[in-house]
């Protein structure tokens, strides 16, 4: 039975089916004139005449939805219940490290003395916060093998830009202005974008047949105009760059700097350090590796750590101990590139990351990475007859398979496999990335999924492939059980409708 009407005299009711394809009304459709989510009976603030500022007063009413608290909460709770999240189930989105975020870290971050602090509070009154941030900086540096770090950048791409601006400031301090930054062809899309934004030009170095940077081709394109290189290690194919020291030596030989993109740090914590490999600048995504909220807008945190001789360029202010370590104050390095975020970054995210590090400790963090690598290798082996594994060698925390054969045999593409997986209750893996693998499915199970969940994921993939061979139309018609099914992604990108009333 279909219940068609959710309207009554005066407006729209705020109840709608949770399952099925009935659309959730927009918050504006729930709006009823003069309805409010608060009630102020009396105010103690005396009324004031607004004489003299009439020209500044707004005369047009603001077009805001008018709803009760009850309808407001119902609306967003329903939307949340239709959304897939890390708290609901496995989220094997390669390159994103979407692991479960333990709740104790939320409890720590919700401590009154941490959360109810105005960011403009003088440092004398928030010594605990400064100590916390300084301690976290120390752990970030210990984990990455660096000397000092800024915790300001609010995300990975922001960390990239910060690192590249430090790179530019370093070269400028030497009287140089090199223009090129080398990036492998398997790199994250944010790398070339950050390079352009920082005023450099991206130069692509191709991967060899083993999926790793081609050292000879790198040597051929590096020269005095090379400012540095950006690398993830393990790379975006989930493979460890075995010639990393040789690669970085090529860059250092021309005076360039090596930037480590921490997107894949979850594979190596406690096992290998970018600093020991020879990197000069490292960002780490706390919202990936150190289990702070991620996705749906975060907020994230992408600290940038550097070797000692680059510390003078770090953004400020930095929390620094004075008075023999008894007190802390804010200090900005002499040749700082300036702020990259208001105040001290996404501070309560930083508090979560510190809680996570302290809870797991050195041995726990090492086990975390080892299990992430073990889970990825187990799953890769488990599905290697279902899809072609792109690079047949041990992987790190993620791996890439190709649906090319399936597409040729049945017409079912990587996109269709990803959509069908939603019906099995899993988030889709990353698809069509990295670009060097055709019909790529990039799978990162993370350490937080159990062997039973990994087995269920493997079986779901097997079932999709079996169904595709038997009745490909059935797979092309999936997902069936999600609140919305196949969306017109191209139409949404070409003609985005960004307003409630459909204005473009």
């Amino acid at each position: 039975m279909n219940f068609l009407s959710h309207s009554a005299a005066g407006g729209r009711a705020s109840s709608s089916p949770l399952v099925g394809d009935a659309p959730e009304p927009t918050i504006f459709e729930l709006s009823v004139a003069d309805r409010r989510a608060y009630s102020l009976r009396e105010t103690e603030i005396p009324p004031m005449a607004l004489d003299g500022i009439e020209e500044w007063l707004r005369t047009d009413p603001i077009d805001l939805p008018e709803v009760s608290e009850r309808d407001l909460v119902a609306h967003f709770t329903r939307l949340a219940s239709r959304n897939y999240s890390v708290d609901l189930g496995a989220y094997p989105l390669g390159s994103c490290t979407m692991k479960y975020n333990p709740k104790f870290a939320d409890q720590i971050a919700a401590i009154d003395g941490l959360v109810n602090v105005h960011p403009a509070t003088p440092p004398e009154a928030i010594q605990g916060w400064l100590r916390l941030l300084h301690e976290l900086e120390g752990y970030v540096c210990e984990i990455t093998g660096m000397a000092q770090a800024t915790l300001q950048p609010p995300a990975g791409a922001s960390g990239e830009l910060t690192g590249l601006l430090i790179m530019r400031a370093y070269h400028a301090s030497k009287g140089r202005k090199p223009s090129k930054v080398v990036i492998p062809d398997s790199a994250h899309g944010t790398n070339p974008a950050s390079v352009s934004l920082a005023g450099f030009q991206a130069v692509t170095v191709p991967s060899g047949p083993n999926g790793l940077v081609d050292l000879e081709k790198l040597k051929a394109l590096v020269d005095q105009d090379t400012a540095g290189i950006m690398l993830t290690n393990p790379n975006t194919l989930g493979l460890f760059e075995q010639e990393i020291q040789e690669i970085l030596a090529v860059i250092h030989a021309v005076g360039g700097l090596a930037y480590y993109d921490g997107a894949n740090l979850n594979a190596i914590v406690g096992v290998a350090r970018p600093g020991d490999m020879g990197f000069d600048i490292v960002h780490s995504n706390l919202h990936k590796t150190f289990a702070t909220p991620h996705g749906g807008g975060g907020p994230g945190a992408g600290p940038v750590a550097v070797v000692e001789h680059l510390a003078e360029f770090l953004p400020g202010p930095l929390p620094r101990p004075v008075d023999a370590g008894n007190t802390y104050t804010w200090m900005t390095p002499q040749r700082s590139i300036g702020r990259v975020h208001a105040f001290f970054g996404n501070a309560v995210v930083l508090a979560r990351a510190l809680a996570f590090m302290r809870y797991l400790g050195r041995d726990g963090l090492t086990t975390m990475s080892q299990l992430a690598v073990l889970n990825a290798n187990w799953l890769k082996h488990r599905i290697e007859t279902t899809f072609e594994v792109a690079y047949d060698q041990p992987c790190m925390h993620e791996f890439v398979v190709s649906a090319e054969r399936l597409k040729e045999e049945t017409g079912v593409r990587a996109l269709d496999v990803a959509k069908a997986l939603l019906d099995a209750g899993f988030h889709a893996p990353t698809i069509y990335f990295p670009l060097v693998v055709h019909e790529a499915l990039m799978i990162e199970p993370t350490e937080t999924e159990s062997p039973q969940t990994l087995e269920a994921l493997a079986q779901a993939l097997e079932q999709i492939v079996a169904t595709a061979k038997d009745d490909s139309a059935a797979v092309l018609d999936m997902p069936q059980n999600t609140p919305v099914r196949r969306l017109d992604e191209a139409g949404a990108a070409r003609n985005p409708v960004l307003t409630e009333d459909g204005r473009h």
Binding site: G189, I431, Y432, L435, A490, A493
Partner: protein, 126 residues
């Protein structure tokens, strides 16, 4: 897939049509199919002097963002502004209304480009 006999090609899956010192270029049927639905084209800069292989434009699809490279050296003399409002022309008519730009040739590009036989051989090896 359709690959017109009279065009020249590059390993980056672009086509070139040279006549009277002007090279018209776009992406091949293979490229548009691999990209999927194109949603945005960042057009080349008019009047820019480019070398063969320089990145001159970008094409964004629902799958990815890809660079477009100058197939030959020259000066960008004309751009297909219709692609700004209707990027889907790259999918529907890659060799016709989906052309990307024209370049006034600098020098003779002979030998740098693939003929249809060489391009088909490249496709078969991918």
């Amino acid at each position: 897939m359709n690959f017109p006999e009279h065009l020249l090609y590059t390993a980056e899956h672009e086509w070139v049509d040279i006549s009277d010192g002007i090279a018209t270029m776009g992406i091949t049927d293979y490229a548009q199919d691999a990209l999927g639905d194109v949603v945005f084209v960042g057009l080349p800069e008019l009047g820019r002097t480019v070398g063969a292989g320089d990145s001159i434009a970008e094409v964004e699809s629902t799958k990815s963002v890809s660079d477009i490279f100058a197939p030959v050296a020259g000066v960008i003399s004309e751009i297909n502004e219709r692609l700004q409002a209707t990027p889907e022309l790259l999918n529907s008519d890659p060799y016709g209304e989906g052309w990307i730009c024209r370049l006034t040739l600098a020098g003779d590009p002979a030998g740098q480009l693939l003929d249809i036989a060489a391009y088909r051989k490249l496709l078969n090896s991918e």
